[in-house]
Structure formats: structure tokens, C-alpha cells
């Protein structure tokens, strides 16, 4: 097994193990979907507004935003997405009736175990 394969296998197996650790909670999945829908809507609004700003028609252009504004707004949306990710992390930890520290310790232990097994396969 080469290093690229190890990286891909490690990441996909780690994701699977985390999903198991999260208990495949339908509540967490529903919240994540809700956040994803909100994000999709805001990204869509920013892109649509930037296109309006580029329109040669002054009436439409006045309703849009400049490219510079769109860039700033896309960065802002990315920051909100990062907050959504942290929220899901927090909910997973709560859902498991674990504190965040315990959850992180378990996740790190899983990762270390997977990595150790894969590196053994590299030596072979």
C-alpha cells in the first residue's frame, strides 16, 4: 500500500468510525441538513446579487452588489459554515452523553489505532 492509499483509506475509515461513534443519530443528521440548506440559500443569494451587480441595466445593477462585496460576503458565509460545523460537533458530543473532551479522546484513539494499522501495512 502506498502513502496516497494510506491517506485515503485512513480518512474514509476515520469518517466511518466517527459516524459509528456519533451513533448515526437522526437528530444530528437533521440539524446538519438544516444548516446545509441555510448555507445553500445564502450562497445562492450572494451569487445572484453579484450577477445583478454586473448587469448593464442600471435598474437591475442598483439592486445588485459589486464583486468586492460578494467576495467579502462569501468569506462571511464560510465563517458561518465553520460555526455550523462546530455546532454539529457539540451536538454529537451531547448526543453521545459524553463531554467534548471524552469525545475528542475517543476520536483521537480511533485515529491513532487506524493509522498504526495502516503504517504496519506500509512496512510490509
Amino acid at each position: 500500500m502506498d502513502l496516497t492509499n494510506i491517506k485515503d483509506t485512513l480518512l474514509s475509515e476515520f469518517a466511518n468510525e466517527l459516524a459509528v461513534l456519533a451513533g448515526q443519530s437522526t437528530e444530528v443528521i437533521a440539524v446538519a441538513k438544516d444548516y446545509a440548506n441555510d448555507s445553500k440559500e445564502v450562497y445562492g443569494t450572494i451569487i445572484e446579487s453579484a450577477l445583478k451587480g454586473l448587469s448593464p441595466d442600471p435598474a437591475i445593477k442598483a439592486e445588485g452588489i459589486s464583486y468586492a462585496e460578494a467576495k467579502i460576503d462569501l468569506v462571511r458565509e464560510t465563517e458561518v459554515c465553520a460555526a455550523a460545523f462546530k455546532s454539529v460537533e457539540q451536538i454529537i458530543a451531547s448526543d453521545l452523553e459524553m463531554d467534548v473532551k471524552t469525545f475528542a479522546q475517543k476520536a483521537i484513539a480511533i485515529f491513532e489505532n487506524l493509522a498504526a494499522n495502516l503504517f504496519v501495512s506500509l512496512k510490509g
Partner: protein, 140 residues
């Protein structure tokens, strides 16, 4: 002697039963109702105010809404910082405050918001508020 042994076994069983994880969750406070109520009320008020704004809304007209929401989120942050395992919740609430301040600055710089600026800033604040309220409800 037999009765004493039975009572001892019974009390050990009760202790084990009450300390098992099945009972832990219902007995624990599911969330902080105080921070949940601040977050929910602030989000509801901010979203309903912004939803009523028309394109062309001036900064002067919007400022009281921003200032009130800002004060509430700062209050929420002060309580959240005292909570157990607060890294994520504090970071999420800070992001909400940051989005509000960026909206306020953008509105002040523009003087008034056109329909796009209003829709984007409304979307960002609604999304950030939803994340905080949802986390507050689930956070233990």
C-alpha cells in the same frame, strides 16, 4: 441475618440502578434555559425586525435594532463563557456577534441597504442565529 443480607443486596442494586447511564440523561438538565431564552428571544426579534425592512432602509432606522441585539448577544457571551466545555458555544456565539457587527458596519458605510444587501445580511444573521439557538437547545 438473612433479612439484613437481603436489605444490603437491595440497597446495592438500587445504587447501581440509579447510577446507570439510562437514568443519567433524564435527570441531567438538558440545557441552560437562561441562555436558551436569551438566544431565542434575540434571534426572533432580530429576524422579525429585519424581515419587515424594505429595500432602502437607512442605517439610522436600523441602528436601534442592531444595538439591542448586540447588547443581548454580549450578555449571552458573558454567561456562555462560564459554562462547562464552552469552547464551541463561545466560538459560535462570537461568530453571531461578528456577523451582526459586520452587518452594522456595512449598513453604516452604505447609508442604506438595497434589496441584495438586505437579503444577504438577513440570510447571514438568520443562519448564524439559527446555529446559536439550535446549539443552545442541544448543548449539555
Amino acid at each position: 441475618m438473612k433479612q439484613l443480607k437481603f436489605l444490603l443486596l437491595l440497597s446495592i442494586s438500587i445504587m447501581l440502578f440509579t447510577s446507570c447511564s439510562v437514568l443519567k440523561n433524564p435527570l441531567a438538565a438538558p440545557y441552560n434555559s437562561f441562555t436558551d431564552s436569551i438566544a431565542s428571544a434575540t434571534n426572533t426579534e432580530l429576524v422579525s425586525s429585519m424581515a419587515s425592512w424594505q429595500p432602502g432602509i437607512s442605517f439610522q432606522d436600523a441602528m436601534p435594532v442592531y444595538n439591542k441585539a448586540e447588547a443581548s448577544i454580549i450578555n449571552l457571551l458573558a454567561v456562555d463563557t462560564t459554562r462547562k466545555h464552552n469552547t464551541q458555544i463561545v466560538s459560535i456565539t462570537n461568530e453571531w456577534l461578528s456577523q451582526l457587527e459586520q452587518t452594522k458596519s456595512a449598513h453604516q458605510a452604505a447609508g442604506m441597504f438595497n434589496s441584495s444587501q438586505l437579503a444577504i445580511n438577513f440570510g447571514l444573521l438568520k443562519q448564524a442565529g439559527n446555529i446559536v439557538v439550535t446549539t443552545e437547545k442541544k448543548y449539555k
